[in-house]
Symmetry: C2
Subunit: 256 residues, 2 copies
């Protein structure tokens, strides 16, 4: 299997770095192909701006998503962006691994999303033979598995249901459903390491083995049963059918 | 009143840019003080990394939040970070204005958060005389108003309750509660412009005036009634008291 790990941590000697190295070694030992985009090591350009489109008329007003679509279709994308898209297409499983900073990705990883998930590639993809968009369960990255892997200093109960910070599954919804599922991937539950500041050394192996287990079984893990856009659960305005999700609220209604 | 607008759009001639210019002019005309951090124009450094701490021993393992605390307390922060903190302290109202990209902030604004909201300043702030943290309704930025202002190409009903993309109020929860309220601000409902791709010119004035109205009334607008951490709603583990939020689920339970 082909694993693509997009990894964003500024310190190679961090828990995140050690987990990534451990996982890569284990996947290779098991006979898999692995690509890693180590965004900090690559000094990946984080800010999506006009410099991404050197062939554009600089006097023209920049509409970023439109420019990204023109560059994607015209073959004039920045080489770093095109390389990441190629790895996404190559992959059977896409892993985004990062420390949870302010309840989301570090900026360098958000920039990877903003720049790589171009119009025509990840968004604005028509569904052939229809007037629909290929998104939310359909799209360029359909057939792939996606997983969020994140570390946090917070305690698990404070990121659980009714926990102080909010349930992490809901906090990650913009990523799991809004990004991975949006582009067609089947998304498995996130792998989360809590309370990293106090992680005793003896727990490292336990956590690292659990991570590897999740990676090795990703193809057979039950995906989060998000509702698709074009499967009949949403009406023509894009609102959930009244008969669905009864008695649920919040993001619960987006799961079957 | 002192308004601090943190603005992140790569194109000054965008709807976002026009709204920002209109709002600044109206606030100044009404006798207010306004500071704008135009992150793209400033070429604000987006990636939080070791370069933020030139006085640190480069051989030492980087724990970013710890290094940010050392720099904050030691007066060795990067000047761009210290300047943004000064503007936050100066402000009575803090506005984060940005286009909604992948259901969150553009990377350059996420980087502003990652770098400026340092340990000791925005997180890891002890509550004097207690063993508690000053966060979620308390903290360095208490007494200030906070508001998210965002634009999106999506239709309002697709970002409403049961809408295809999820309710925007919940999608923004990591920002409204996890960032603004976390640091002590009173957060008013977000100001959102939908369907910007098709925004007719005649609607611009209407939208811009509505934005100004929200800014001028921010001090008297009812804040979102988020539950505080230290007000008794959460038990000693940081889990919501069983008697609260009955019949609610998702992020609804975090509002009184």
């Amino acid at each position: 299997m082909n694993y693509f790990i997009v990894y964003a941590h500024p310190e190679p000697r961090s828990l995140n770095g050690s987990l990534k190295d451990f996982a890569v070694a284990a996947l290779v030992a098991a006979g898999h192909q692995v690509r890693v985009s180590d965004l900090y090591a690559m000094k990946f350009k984080a800010s999506a701006d006009a410099e991404d489109f050197p062939e554009r008329d600089p006097g023209e007003r920049l509409v970023y998503h439109r420019a990204s679509g023109d560059a994607f279709h015209g073959g004039t994308q920045s080489p770093d962006v095109a390389a990441e898209q190629a790895s996404l297409l190559w992959a059977d499983a896409v892993i985004l691994q990062f420390p949870l900073w302010w309840f989301s990705m570090p900026a360098i990883l958000k920039g990877w999303v903003d720049r790589v998930f171009a119009h025509g590639f990840a968004i604005g993809v028509p569904k052939p033979g229809t007037k629909q968009w290929a998104r939310y369960g359909e799209g360029t990255l359909a057939g792939r598995r996606g997983m969020i892997v994140t570390t946090t200093g917070a305690r698990e109960e404070q990121l659980g249901p009714r926990g102080l910070n909010g349930p992490l599954e809901d906090i990650l919804f913009p990523l799991t459903r809004g990004l991975l599922f949006y582009t067609g991937m089947d998304v498995v539950p996130s792998f989360v390491v809590y309370r990293t500041v106090r992680l005793p050394d003896e727990r490292f192996t336990e956590v690292a083995n659990a991570y590897v287990e999740r990676l090795l079984t990703i193809q057979t893990t039950e995906p989060i049963p998000y509702r698709t856009e074009n499967g009949g659960d949403f009406d023509e305005r894009g609102v959930l059918q009244p008969s669905l999700g009864e008695g649920k609220s919040g993001f619960d209604v987006y799961r079957k």
